[in-house]
């Protein structure tokens, strides 16, 4: 391990966020040409990470970072090995092209600056995911990709479909992120390490743990939701509501691969078990077949591509699950190839949409003359997708068949799955790349012509990259494939496959795939009709299930709210005071620590008892008072009696204050009460009375018991002694109470007089502000029904 220039890498990791900050401003100044400047950020990142490639190719691992919360062993640290380097290069490289493409695609859009900002935020988050070493940092970035993806999918938030897709993506991937967090915490708990780079030494410990399956399932929950594995795949096609640059970047090349990244990253520690080797291929294989089958059904270019993305992700998960040397090499090659061709195809689809005004494949045709560059780019991507030489996709597909080919039934089943999947992807790839361009010209909503350089630069570059990477395969393998495969396998591996086909089962399977693909391509319309019929026959799908889930959640929360918030004050009060009573009495009953039976205080003097009796009489009179005046006077009586108690027990300050306050309270109560039309007495039904009394007595009794219990404990006088000792010596005051208020605890008092002042202001505004009668009535359906907006009749 070597640590290198942590400062630079940190700045590079923050670069997208900084660019996101200035993007709106830059876009206001330069319009869509801001893309050229903004693309410099990912280009700089690309160059920075390219600098690591020689080191990493030689088996080096670069780590770095800072302590974050040292006491919890949480750090901001990164890990650059073959796996994260390849991802970082893909993210920044394709990112730069996508930023340029966005500039062309959303040219003139009034929210373009916001869009750039979101894109760059996402780029920073995604880069963080693949580069993170610490678990918590990984999780934070992971959820950040979900949030930025939410913002991007919902970019066109005026449309309901867009909002729905955004919420769906957030719920599924964000929820998966929580599962991932739980999984990482379980792993942290088992191994005691919170960093990926250290975790690699703990594989056996983890696999042997009884919590292995729990950790695995939680991590898979995160990975499968992010990488759209069946049956959580539905959010990805819906995310096509986003503008096409988003689909090209997030939903083909980067974000959806985060789940695959996670699986590859944890393969050395979680992999190589029966569970891993069963769950991943089964789910991956299912996703592969379901994805391609659903893709056949679509006519929208973007949706066709989206479903094949689902199936490609399934293929990657399946290969990662097998975990053999060739399977990993195949996964690596396929991942890189897929990012290149799928990103390119999405951009082509967007370009066609942009220029021709539709992306319905049945309404397009004959564009090859109008858009020759686009056609070339589409063709390059499609050839790679179909797995034909001399593109990177071919290498990937050869390696896949090489890895899968064994003669046991389990393997043969997956070989069949792979052949069907690849065959159908062949069909879709060429359907997207050929149907709009060949054949007779079809009239399109817009008169199509070649797009601007910003739009075709991206797909063309990616197509060329896929070609070059395959032609110079030794270089590709040395710097990309082999280091990445080594990181996934956890041991040194070398990838050797080249564009020259080998004789053997892999080649035969390739030929079978191509033959199957060509046949299926010719029958595409019939297949589409068949799938449509089949789906209509099934009727229900996870997508509709999501709607049911959401509406169920809303209904549940409405029901729960109605239950716990019936809108009746007395019910809230009863519950509150019941809880207080329980809190007071519960612990005493639980621990059996009741206070000792109080003995009659021998020193109690007659006048003290009289005062106590006055309090009780005042209280009783308040309850039984039949008219206002009696009630107010009784209230005053108990207040004055309490003041007397303060006086008797050495608190003259309190006593005076209490006297003044009670006087004022009685005065203002009298002022207000004379204007309130009061019920003569407090009518409560008998049952209500019994319940209220029980609650009140339980609470009051609880307080008595509590206070008895407190006063029977030994008293700690430390604080009082402190104030007593320092009041005169330090604060020059003999009245300790006042010294505490204005000196020792002056800041506290400052807050309290501020409260007094604010209540004063609140009261003034309450008195002064007159609500228009209609406003109140509007909010109250009963009143609205019962009477019209009566003008403010003065109430006696």
């Amino acid at each position: 391990m070597s640590a290198s220039a942590p400062g630079t890498t940190f700045i590079v990791l923050m670069l997208p966020f900084l660019a996101a900050l200035i993007a709106p401003w830059l876009t206001r100044r330069l319009g869509h040409n801001a893309a050229w400047l903004l693309a410099l950020a990912p280009v700089a990142i690309f160059i920075h990470f390219l600098g690591f490639s020689a080191d990493v190719a030689d088996g080096g691992v670069v780590t770095g970072g800072f302590q974050w919360v040292p006491s919890y062993n949480v750090s901001f640290s990164w890990l650059i090995d073959g796996l994260s380097l390849t991802f970082a290069l893909l993210i920044s490289g394709i990112g730069a092209l996508i930023i340029l493409y966005s500039g062309g695609y959303l040219k003139g859009h009034d929210q373009l600056g916001r869009f750039f900002s979101f894109m760059l935020l996402f780029m920073g988050a995604m880069l963080g995911v693949v580069i993170s070493d610490s678990f918590l940092m990984l999780f934070v970035y992971w959820e950040l990709t979900s949030i930025t993806s939410f913002l991007l999918i919902g970019f066109d938030h005026a449309r309901e479909a867009s909002r729905r897709a955004a919420i769906q993506a957030l719920v599924v991937t964000g929820g998966g992120g929580l599962a991932l967090l739980a999984g990482l915490l379980v792993i942290w708990n088992i191994t005691g390490v919170s960093q990926v780079s250290l975790l690699l030494n703990y594989g056996d410990e983890l696999r042997g743990s009884p919590f292995y399956l729990l950790a695995l399932l939680l991590v898979l929950g995160g990975a499968f939701s992010k990488s759209a594995q069946f049956p959580l795949h539905f959010w990805l096609p819906n995310a096509m509501e986003a503008p096409t640059p988003v689909s090209a970047y997030l939903h083909s090349a980067t974000m959806v691969k985060a789940g695959v990244y996670l699986l590859m990253r944890l393969n050395p520690v979680l992999g190589d078990t029966v569970w891993w080797g069963t769950i991943l291929p089964v789910f991956g294989g299912t996703t592969l077949i379901v994805g391609t089958a659903l893709a056949i059904r679509q006519t929208d270019l973007k949706l066709m591509l989206a479903y094949t993305t689902v199936s490609s992700l399934g293929l990657l998960v399946m290969l990662t699950g097998f975990g053999s040397e060739h399977a990993i090499a195949a996964a690596v090659l396929y991942l890189v190839a897929h990012s290149l061709f799928k990103g390119g195809l999405f951009m082509v689809a967007g370009l066609i949409d942009h220029e021709a005004g539709t992306r319905d494949v049945t309404r397009l045709g004959g564009l090859r003359r109008a858009m020759p560059v686009t056609f070339v780019a589409a063709l390059a991507a499609a050839i790679s997708m179909a797995g034909l030489p001399p593109f990177l996709g071919f290498l990937a597909k050869e390696e896949i068949y090489y890895a899968l080919w064994h003669t046991d039934p389990w393997s043969l089943a997956f070989v069949a799955v792979a052949v069907i999947g690849n065959g159908l992807m062949f069909v879709i790839g060429f359907a997207v790349a050929l149907k709009p361009f060949l054949g007779p010209e079809v009239k399109t909503p817009k008169h199509a012509h070649e797009g601007p350089v910003l739009l075709w630069l991206g797909p063309l570059t990616l197509g060329i990259a896929a070609l070059v990477a395959a032609l110079i395969s030794p270089v590709t393998h040395r710097f990309i494939s082999s280091p990445m495969a080594s990181a996934i396998a956890g041991e040194a591996e070398t990838v050797t496959i080249s564009v020259i086909p080998h004789m053997g089962p892999a080649l035969i399977l390739s030929l079978v795939t191509i033959a199957f693909g060509i046949i299926a391509y010719r029958m595409l319309d019939r297949l589409r009709a068949g799938m449509a019929w089949l789906l209509a026959a099934i009727g229900w799908g996870p997508d509709r299930g999501f709607d049911q889930f959401i509406s169920g959640a809303v209904r549940l929360s409405v029901a729960v709210t109605r239950l716990v918030q019936p809108g009746r004050l007395d019910i809230y009060m009863t519950v509150t005071f019941l809880m207080i009573a329980a809190a007071l009495i519960g612990p005493m009953a639980w621990y059996g620590e009741w206070p000792a039976m109080p003995v009659w205080p021998e020193d109690a003097q007659f006048h003290e008892l009289v005062v106590a009796a006055i309090v009780l009489i005042g209280l009783a009179a308040v309850i039984y008072a039949r008219d206002r005046l009696t009630a107010i006077v009784s209230l005053g009586i108990q207040g004055f009696a309490v003041a007397l108690i303060f006086m008797l027990f050495g608190a003259p300050d309190l006593s005076f204050t209490q006297f003044m306050v009670e006087t004022l309270a009685v005065v203002i109560l009298a002022l207000v009460m004379t204007r309130l039309k009061l019920h003569a007495s407090d009518h409560r039904p008998t049952l209500q009375k019994v319940v209220d009394m029980s609650v009140a007595i339980a609470c009051g009794g609880g307080f008595t018991l509590y206070l008895l219990s407190v006063t029977q404990q030994p008293f700690n006088t430390a604080l009082s002694d402190f104030f007593s000792a320092y009041s005169k010596v330090v604060a020059h005051g003999a009245n300790v109470v006042n010294v505490i208020i204005v000196d020792f605890r002056g800041t506290d008092t400052l807050g309290e007089i501020a409260v007094v002042m604010v209540t004063g202001l609140a009261i003034l505004s309450l008195i002064r502000i007159r609500t228009p009668r209609a406003t109140v009535a509007d909010n109250d359906p009963d009143r609205r029904a019962a009477q019209g907006p009566a003008q403010g009749r003065e109430v006696r």
Binding site: D653, V667, A734, N735, V737, T749, L750, I753, M757, I763
Partner: protein, 139 residues
């Protein structure tokens, strides 16, 4: 409530109570008393005056809006704490000076300033509540 006797003695009663409240405020540091009690006494005095002679004379008599008095008090209390900046000690540390006036040593302190602020807040806030309620009585 507004009998002749009450109306006649109310101004004197009020002045006496206000004077007494200031006395209570100032002696608060060494004897029972202080800003809270003093403020309440003064607020009651104003409330009594208001009940006896109406709110308008009270408002004329105190000249400032009660809420403004309260706000000034709050400001004064807060500033009493800030004084300690100049002595280079933590916020709200008590500072004392003992100037000699006419041969008598008079202890003055930031704590006293603080207490006067408390007094003004209580007078202002409570009397503004009371006056506002009394005012509503007559419209």
């Amino acid at each position: 409530m507004r009998t002749v006797i009450f109306r006649s003695i109310a101004p004197y009663l009020t002045s006496l109570m206000v004077l007494f409240s200031i006395f209570v405020l100032l002696r608060g540091h060494n004897e029972p008393g202080g800003g809270f009690i003093g403020g309440l006494i003064a607020a009651s005095a104003l409330a009594i005056y208001g009940i006896a002679c109406g709110v308008a004379p009270v408002r004329r008599a105190i000249y400032f809006h009660p809420m403004a008095i309260a706000a000034f008090g709050l400001f004064m209390s807060a500033m009493a704490g800030v004084l300690s900046i100049f002595a280079g000690v933590p916020y709200m540390s008590g500072l004392w000076i003992y100037p000699h006036l006419f041969g008598v040593e008079i202890p003055l302190s930031s704590v006293l300033v603080f207490d006067v602020g408390v007094y003004l807040v209580v007078v202002g806030a409570i009397s503004s509540i009371a006056l506002a309620l009394e005012e509503r009585d007559r419209d």
